[in-house]
């Protein structure tokens, strides 16, 4: 890997020293005890991918991660190896499947059906299908450990919690690994699990807990856009330094099957070495490729209904599948202007009951490009209608399908993200943060038409402010980059290669009531007290000794909890009296219960709060007693407890 640094001899000093230290470290470290692989797990909303590389061979041949073939049931009784494990779980009826038809190579009767079989069975029986469990993890307003999925199932269907579903996917991956590498247990490898950059502390903690539940106590978390950038760095084999320069702001746009994730990474200089710092992450936007396929299916459905044909739900589902394939063909093949769509009847008569329509290039352009990537100005905001009624039964899908509008809002909101970096200079008149380079990730952006339009819109915003056009970073593997990058990160953590600095993606606050006389009819004013600043690095902690809280022994005490991904300047202990809705997002309440442990119930213990970012990458809040330094963990996941 030395060639990574070969092109700039002047910048090498620090890194070379590290490389030279490495052999000693390998001897000291317990590598010989079994750590042989760096394993990256992309725990996606619609698919999971596991990538791995042998650590011992990295220095000799460069880094070439493999994608593990995951054995999984594809239909009852049939097992196939696939590079992806669909993130679906199916709760089969006891009479539904024949005896012994759900065996896997490592277990005769798994607890849950996951992967391809779950997706296939669920497409015909949606009431028993658990999908998008990952998005539920980040859904404020539900208890992620309560059995709530499938949300629309009748009462007699056994439900699982989003946490259990995530655990089931991880368990399948672990067992698949174990059966392929019986001599290298996964819990002894370096494991990196990716999470969306927009995951809140509770969702990260739940992911880490799911990993612990299957024995992967050593697993650490990495944000997906960062993993994508790591993969790009790794694939360039050292050449990335010629494509990125000091002052660059790299915008990572990740449009997956179900979510869109945005991150900004700045390129700066430290003692002559290029440094990467993740400066901002976007909100959790539930909008992705699946929405596009559905939009096309409904366009064709409208066309068919105009001809007087009524479609049944299963036909719409089949239509969505054909639209996905047709869309890909139209995007790949520039000469084809329309693709015939056929929905076969369900019965054994194929010719009689077949439904026929077609998808034209004009429709694809209108629905996908104009619908999802409209040409907007940077001051446009995503449309958000006030939500009416209770929405506890479903996920908070994005209301505006315009990805470009979400992007505009993100860049405008993060205008000040690089203020503290001396290497980045934004023009005075800039009304949004000007990215200079773009890295794509996610299968949707494989379509050149969509990628080109996204670049076109972004560059139109930049040229409107006389800024140079952003360039596209080439060579990314859009489907597997996250898993590959995660495996590479395991190697970076050994002190080799360049590491993206990041820390927490937001600053965190607890709400405290300010002391003021009670006014009838008005709830007391709330102050936000900063307990964790922006960009706290892994393995650090910050205490807040001056502000004391009195906690009652044996009684749960709750705090309102806020996060901000724009207030970078707040230090621990900063009190905010006033903030706009855009600045602070309210998260779920956090809860502390002091155990009795030799104290009298009802006694009031003065404590202060302490925030730490663990090595795993999760935020941990603790209450610390002033008197005897006793520490109690503050729980995040008390969602919708009442």
């Amino acid at each position: 890997m030395k060639e990574l640094f070969g092109s700039q001899p002047a910048k090498e000093d620090g890194v070379v020293a590290e490389l030279e230290n490495q052999p000693d470290e390998v001897v000291v470290e317990p590598t010989q005890q079994g750590i042989r692989f760096s394993v990256g797990i992309d725990l996606g909303t619609t698919h999971c991918v596991l990538s791995y590389a042998e650590l011992e061979h990295i220095d000799d041949e460069g880094f070439s991660p493999q994608v593990m073939a995951i054995p999984q049931l594809t239909s009852p009784g049939s097992i196939e190896d696939k590079p992806q494990l669909p993130s679906f779980l199916y709760q089969a009826h006891p009479a539904e499947l024949a005896e012994d038809s759900t065996a896997l190579p490592w277990i005769a009767k798994p607890d849950y059906l996951v992967g391809e079989i779950a997706r296939n069975l669920g497409s015909k029986t949606p009431i028993r299908l658990v999908a998008s469990a990952k998005s539920w993890l980040c859904h404020t307003g539900v208890d992620c450990k309560a059995p709530i999925l499938p949300a629309e199932a009748p009462d007699e269907v056994d439900r699982v919690s989003p946490f259990q579903a995530t655990t089931a996917y991880l368990q399948h991956l672990r067992d698949a690994w174990q059966s392929q590498f019986p001599d290298a247990p996964l819990d002894q490898q370096d494991v990196v699990i990716t999470v969306p950059a927009s995951f809140d502390p509770a969702a990260r903690e739940l992911t880490a807990e799911a990993a612990r539940a299957v024995g992967l106590t050593q697993a650490i978390l990495l944000e997906e856009p960062q993993a994508a950038l790591y993969s790009w760095i790794e694939k360039s084999h050292g050449d990335w330094r010629n494509h990125a320069e000091v002052g660059d702001i790299i915008l990572v746009i990740d449009v997956g099957g179900g979510t869109t994730d945005l991150s900004l990474i700045a390129v700066t200089q430290q003692e002559g070495n290029l440094e990467l710092t993740r400066v901002a992450v976007g909100d959790h936007i539930l909008l992705g490729g699946d929405n596009m396929d559905l939009a096309l299916a409904y366009t064709v459905k409208a066309k068919l209904e105009k001809d007087g044909k009524r479609l049944e739900p299963w036909q719409i589902q089949a239509l969505t599948h054909s639209c996905r394939d047709a869309k890909e063909k139209i995007f790949i093949n520039t000469e084809v202007d329309n693709i015939p769509l056929v929905v076969a009847s369900r019965g054994s008569s194929l010719i009689g009951g077949t439904l026929r329509s077609e998808l034209t290039r004009e429709e694809v352009n209108r629905v996908l490009i104009e619908g999802f990537l409209p040409k907007v100005v940077v001051s446009d905001k995503p449309v958000s209608r006030p939500r009416t009624g209770l929405r506890t039964a479903g996920l908070p899908y994005a209301q505006d399908a315009g990805i470009t509008r979400h992007l505009a809002a993100f860049l405008t909101k993060q205008q000040g993200a690089t203020d503290e970096l001396s290497d980045i200079h934004l023009p005075e008149h800039a009304s949004f943060l000007h990215p200079t380079a773009v890295l794509f990730n996610g299968g949707v952006l494989k379509a050149d038409a969509l990628a080109d339009r996204l670049m076109e819109v972004l560059n139109s915003w930049l040229s409107a402010e006389q800024a140079p056009e952003a360039r596209l970073l080439e060579g990314a593997d859009l489907d597997l980059a996250v898993a590959r990058g995660a495996a590479y990160y395991g190697y970076v953590r050994k002190g080799k290669g360049v590491r993206i600095k990041g820390g927490t993606a937001a600053s965190y606050y607890v709400g405290i009531e300010s002391a003021m006389p009670a006014v009838p009819g008005m709830s007391p004013e709330i102050q936000a007290l900063c307990i964790a600043p922006f960009g706290m690095e892994e393995g650090t902690q910050q205490e807040l000794p001056d502000d004391e809280f009195g906690l009652v022994i044996g009684e749960p005490v709750r705090f309102r909890f806020f996060a901000s991904n724009t207030r970078r300047e707040d230090k621990v202990g900063t009190r905010l009296d006033y903030w706009t809705d855009e600045e602070l997002d309210e998260l779920e309440e956090i809860e502390i219960t002091l155990p009795e442990e030799g104290r009298r119930p009802g006694e009031v213990v003065p404590v202060h709060l302490c925030a730490a970012v663990t090595e795993v990458g999760t935020l941990e809040l603790q209450a610390v007693s002033q008197k005897d330094n006793g520490r109690w963990k503050i729980e995040f996941d008390v969602r919708a407890g009442e």
Binding site: G77, S78, S101, A103, P340, A344, R346, S348, T354
Partner: protein, 215 residues
């Protein structure tokens, strides 16, 4: 000289040295007999496991002879040398599996089993799209196909001496000796990779597609 009188009704009253010697000899002989029997039994059991054909009777024959007998049996198997060529029997499971895959992805059986005489070409064409697309998907997913010859069809190619007659078939005016020169009529297909699903014990491959009942 001593004279010995034989009287079988006499019982010895003293246990003298002779008696001791006598008893010792009896015990020794009994021991030898037991060891011999045991070793025979063990070797018999070992022999039985190997061929699993011989109903070797536990006769107290020497072990060596039994081994000889096995050799004879093996020779018998080899003996009828000009037996007809053993033909490979195709396992039905893989064939059934392929049918199942083609039906699942392409509605192959539905299409073949349907009486197409009653339909217009346009209707059949619509259904053929489903079958073509699905077959394409199923075949690409489970097989890696490559052409046998990379040359353009219709071009002249020369086959050297000792070419593989299993991969290239000669037709037409086959005379003379290799190298043969002729026109490539079909470039040929070969499967270079195969990835069929594995089956669990409870799977009945004969059910190409199950009946479906919507509740």
């Amino acid at each position: 000289m001593n004279t010995y009188a034989i009287d079988l009704s006499l019982k010895p009253t003293t246990f003298d040295l002779w008696h001791v010697c006598l008893a010792g000899t009896v015990a020794l002989l009994a021991l030898i007999l037991i060891v011999l029997l045991l070793s025979m039994l063990i070797s018999l059991m070992r022999c039985k496991k190997k061929p699993a054909v011989l109903p070797a009777a536990p006769t107290p024959e020497p072990v060596v002879k039994i081994v000889e007998k096995i050799v004879e049996v093996e020779k018998l198997v080899h003996a009828p040398a000009p037996e007809p060529v053993v033909l490979k029997e195709a396992t039905p499971d893989a064939a059934l599996q392929l049918l199942g895959l083609l039906q699942k992805e392409a509605r192959f059986i539905d299409f073949i089993k349907e009486d197409i005489a009653a339909y217009s070409d346009a209707d059949i064409g619509v259904a053929a799209r489903v079958v073509h697309e699905g077959c394409n998907k199923a075949i690409n997913e489970h097989f890696t196909l490559a052409t046998v010859r990379s040359e353009q069809e219709g071009s002249k190619i020369t086959l050297p001496q000792g070419f593989d007659a299993a991969t290239v078939r000669l037709t037409g005016n086959i005379v003379g000796h290799a190298p043969f020169t002729g026109t490539l009529v079909h470039k040929g297909w070969q499967v270079t990779g195969i990835r069929l699903p594995k089956l669990t014990s409870g799977h009945n491959a004969a059910i190409v597609t199950p009946a479906e009942v919507e509740l």
